[in-house]
């Protein structure tokens, strides 16, 4: 028997489709601002010399999801498509869809999702391009929770929140941007239900207190309030959630507005009545209501809602409707609990992170360094480029074709491909993107240098971020600054001691002079 024929003859049933949102990354400017007209997509910024888009894609592949819709701004489309098609073959089918968005006019994630609703016909997973999952949390565990609960409970969506690693205060300068505050959430640890997410609107309305509904506490008397968890922006949702989204045109951000609103539907009666039918359509979905009514573990859901009504009205003991065993009644959609499940990842040894701020980008790079073991490259061509008298510590990563000259010292850094590090340079704790040039005697300390940055002779940079293509002149010295090209082009004067707004004019461009090719 030819088994290969028989299995491929069945039509592909896509259970989930993944939607990866690649935004502009305004928090990561100036790294993510284009360098000289060339866009620098946030999704392609590297973590340990791998574009950060790799991580969620690998995670998806591991979980068995095959279809991916990647949504990116129009300006980045070419770069990202090129990367995807040239990267090593994966079993994912990735569709890149551009969305009209510029850096200044940012579009909310809700609008994007509304726009692409027609592409999504089944249950879907939303992922950000910057989420780096820990190895101990496979996506299939979140998917399994969703699969189990959407049938047995009528769960609408499952989210994932994690405890971020906090660096000690004061090590990262304030000029790099505000440290991300975690939002307080209320969740039920036993059933894994997300109950309340504090939104910025709530904070505006009442900054001192968190307001919770009594109906929430009646349903879930034992909950936990936590404010040190961060949203991973990974949401597994039912298709009907998109219909509900269409009914809320004013919402802008999934994370800040839509998800907190979705959490409220499960316990607020008015919302439930209005949106309940939209959220649980009875067509095209397998519902096991008859089986669930016969199941010995689990009280029937309509029993709970009846109890709820009864307790509000008179204590009418005879107010009971025993579940009917006939199959005609399995179209009752109102039984569903409409909860939002949540998976909390609290493992401190393997932590998850979102690389959407400069702090986290640096931290992520560093966490990969702890696992790195740098040795001389095996490729003789690459090895020839690295001078034997250079001191490269074993916890750094040096990309291919990078030239390192003698008596340089590289410690705890990530250096991209095709860079050139001159003599006696000292690089400690930095992240250098591809094609950087560092001339002799330069000293770099905890910096992130964009692509094609050039640091002149004997320059000293400490805790700086440069935009791609910047040039630091010889002997320049900067501390705690974000260096952007616009200042250089405008020919502004150098001024030290400014605070970290983007007025600094020092540009150190280190073009990739040794290799003429410019890779996207």
């Amino acid at each position: 028997m030819d088994f290969s024929e028989t299995t491929s003859s069945q039509p592909d049933i896509r259970e989930f489709v993944a939607v990866v949102l690649a935004g502009f990354g305004n928090e990561l400017s100036p790294l993510s601002s284009g360098a000289g007209g060339e866009p620098s997509p946030k999704a392609l910024l590297p973590i340990a010399n791998q574009p950060m888009l790799d991580f969620p894609l690998a995670w998806l592949e591991q979980s068995g999801i095959k279809d991916v819709i990647l949504i990116c701004p129009t300006a980045h489309r070419q770069a990202i498509s090129h990367y995807i098609h040239s990267s090593s073959s994966t079993s994912l089918r990735i569709d890149v869809h551009p969305y009209e968005e510029t850096e200044d006019l940012s579009v909310g994630t809700c609008a994007i999702l509304r726009h692409f609703t027609h592409l999504i016909q089944q249950d879907f997973v939303i992922l950000p391009c910057d989420f780096v999952p820990p190895p101990s949390l496979p996506l299939s565990s979140i998917l399994n929770k969703f699969r189990t609960e959407s049938i047995s409970d009528g769960c609408m969506s499952t989210a994932c929140w994690f405890a971020p690693r906090r660096s000690e205060q004061g090590t990262i300068p304030d000029e790099w941007g505000q440290y991300e505050f975690s939002t307080p959430i209320v969740y039920d640890p036993v059933t894994g239900t997300l109950l309340h997410v504090d939104t910025p609107d709530d904070v505006d309305r009442n900054g001192d207190e968190i307001e919770l509904r009594m109906s929430l506490l009646t349903r879930y008397p034992r909950t936990r309030l936590s404010s040190n968890l961060q949203d991973s922006h990974v949401y597994v949702c039912r298709r009907s959630v998109l219909d509900a989204l269409a009914q809320k045109p004013t919402f802008d951000s999934i994370r800040e507005e839509f998800m907190p609103w979705l959490c409220k539907v499960q316990y607020q009666r008015a919302k439930r009545e209005r949106y309940g039918s939209v959220l649980t359509p009875t067509t095209n979905t397998l519902n096991q209501n008859v089986a669930l009514r016969h199941s010995t573990t689990g009280a029937p859901n309509d029993l709970f809602s009846l109890k709820h009504h009864a307790s509000l009205g008179e204590k009418n003991v005879a107010y009971s409707a025993p579940p009917s065993p006939t199959s005609d009644e399995d179209n009752k959609g109102a039984d569903a609990s409409l909860r939002v499940g949540v998976v909390i990842h609290n493992d401190s040894s393997e932590y998850a992170a979102r690389a959407n701020t400069l702090h986290s980008l640096l931290e992520l790079n560093r966490s990969f360094l702890t696992k790195a073991q740098w040795t001389l490259p095996t490729d003789p061509k690459d090895r020839a480029l690295i001078d034997p008298k250079a001191q490269i510590s074993s916890d750094s990563i040096v990309g291919e074709s990078t030239r390192v000259e003698e008596r340089t010292s590289i410690k705890r850094s990530v250096i991209g491909k095709h860079c050139m590090v001159g003599k006696m340079a000292k690089i400690v704790g930095c992240v250098l993107l591809d094609h950087c040039v560092i001339e002799e005697g330069a000293k770099l300390d905890n910096c992130i240098l964009g692509k094609n940055t050039r640091v002149g002779n004997k320059a000293a940079l400490s805790w700086c971020i440069t935009q791609g293509g910047y040039e630091v002149e010889a002997g320049g010295s900067y501390k705690n600054e974000k260096l952007e090209i616009s200042d250089w082009a405008a020919g502004g004067t150098s001024s030290e001691g400014n605070d970290g707004t983007s007025e600094d004019d020092e540009e150190e461009e280190e073009g990739a002079e040794e290799s003429g090719e410019s890779e996207d």
Binding site: Q10, E15, S140, T148, S152, T296, T297
Partner: protein, 454 residues
């Protein structure tokens, strides 16, 4: 004649011998059986050692096997010597296997040390294959997470899922639906079995489905054939489960009189329906719900019944003896019915039935005919199922960490057998949709239904 009472072995340097070793018997017999037993144990211990050596490279565990192999070598030598050393050898070997057990810290060595029920094994984690339909994947998760439990519920869930699978199925060219659909469904079924062992009801339903599939007309267009199959599935559910339940409700309801005190064990969907229907009919009775760990299904039944307005009492299984004198009838459900009249049901039912029989309380089993199994079952050890420890807390716990600390104890194994067998002698009558029959005539059910095979 030297008796079997000998001082504990000092040379072996063991911990005290396992309690409950063989009582004093004739030593010659003991020696032979001992030797055989010892050899078995050593073989098992060597197998454990071999895998332990592979999995653990720590010198500690390699020392222990070396030590135990030395003792193992010593023990048979001892046994072949004078008879009064035989008990020593036995204790030595017993201690040796205990040592091996204690040194294995990983869970797999742990479960291999299961003495009872080791032949069921614990359900293995399911490997997700590409050709399994997503509905079946979800169903498997419902089963393995124990969200859908109960013979009726599982069967209905399986058949409903298969309806979706059949509708999504496309016959490949050069093939007929009646032949190819079977091969398409087989991996789905084995996926479900790997999630949780199949129940008798599921087996019967799938057998009927296979019969229907092979009986489809070849000339029928594909969509019509699929619709016909889905119709047949619906008919099966409707006739043999739902309608049967209604007949049973009536029949068993007639047995309930005003002022009765009914006892039921755990939660059966049929018994629940019977009680609710009888109450809706206006009969006045009280219900005693007996429950047991780990699943505590009785709590949900209690919720449903008391919400309906029935006066209920709730107690745990060990307390049955104190209330049985006030009970007028025991009503239980079944997982399956066997040809010798035995009822396979939730673990604990046998106790309740036997206790009731002792006190001359009639035991009525409510069971649909599709739960009938042709096999003969004499005890609950040969076929059973173990519930996973992580899902059910076997011990009452106040704090979260109690469970994990319990399952990590090297000398503690938690076993949750889910089913037990009630012998026909404890059962008064079985109520099915074809009538009320005594357990001895259960094998006549297929005849009553008018077919040779169920």
């Amino acid at each position: 004649m030297p008796s079997a009472v000998v001082p504990l072995p000092e040379a072996a340097g063991q911990s005290s011998a396992p309690p409950g070793t063989l009582p004093a018997k004739s030593q010659k017999q003991m020696t032979k059986a001992e030797r055989r037993e010892m050899q078995e144990r050593q073989r098992a211990a060597k197998a454990e050692k071999a895998t332990q050596n592979q999995s653990k490279n720590s010198p500690k565990s390699s020392n222990k096997p070396a030590q135990t192999s030395k003792e193992g070598a010593l023990a048979p030598r001892r046994a072949s010597k004078a008879a009064d050393l035989a008990p020593k050898g036995f204790q030595g070997a017993g201690g040796q296997s205990k040592d091996v057990k204690a040194s294995g810290e990983d869970k797999s060595a742990h479960t291999r040390g299961l003495r009872i029920f080791s032949h069921f094994g614990l359900p293995k984690p399911t490997a997700h294959k590409g050709e399994v339909h997503p509905t079946i994947v979800r169903l498997g998760l419902q089963f393995s997470e124990f969200k859908i439990t109960g013979a009726n519920a599982r069967c209905i869930a399986t058949l409903t899922a298969f309806k979706t699978v059949i509708q999504d199925y496309v016959t490949p060219p050069n093939n007929t639906l009646s032949r190819h659909l079977m091969t398409y469904l087989s991996p789905q079924i084995s996926y479900l079995v790997s999630a949780r062992p199949m129940s008798v009801t599921m087996g019967n339903a799938i057998r009927q489905l296979k019969l229907d599939i092979s009986g489809t007309d070849i000339d029928l267009p594909e969509q019509d054939a699929k619709d016909a199959l889905c119709d047949k599935i619906d008919t099966y559910i409707r006739d043999r489960i739902i309608a049967a339940d209604q007949v049973i409700e009536e029949t068993a309801g007639n047995k309930i009189k005003d002022g009765d005190a009914i006892l039921t064990y755990a939660r059966s969907s049929v018994v629940e329906k019977v009680l609710l229907a009888a109450y809706a009919d206006g009969k006045q009775f009280t219900v005693t719900v007996v429950d047991s760990r780990p699943m505590l299904e009785g709590k949900k039944l209690l919720e449903v019944l008391s919400f309906a307005g029935i006066q209920c009492t709730y107690l745990l299984l060990p307390a049955v003896g104190s209330v049985i004198t006030e009970i007028s009838m025991v009503l239980v459900g079944a997982h399956s019915l066997h040809s010798n009249g035995a009822v396979f049901s939730r673990a604990g039912t046998a106790l309740v039935a036997m206790m009731a029989k002792q006190h001359l309380v009639p035991v009525v089993v409510c069971c649909e005919t599709y739960k009938f199994s042709e096999t003969v079952q004499l005890d609950s050890f040969t076929r059973n199922e173990l519930a996973p420890v992580e899902l059910f807390n076997s011990f009452p716990q106040n704090k979260q960490q109690d469970l994990s600390s319990l399952s990590d104890q090297p000398n503690l194994q938690i076993l949750n057998p889910l089913y037990d067998l009630t012998p026909p002698s404890s059962i008064t009558a079985v109520v099915t949709e074809v009538g009320v029959i005594p357990p001895s005539s259960i094998s006549s059910i297929p005849l009553a239904l008018g077919r040779t095979m169920l």
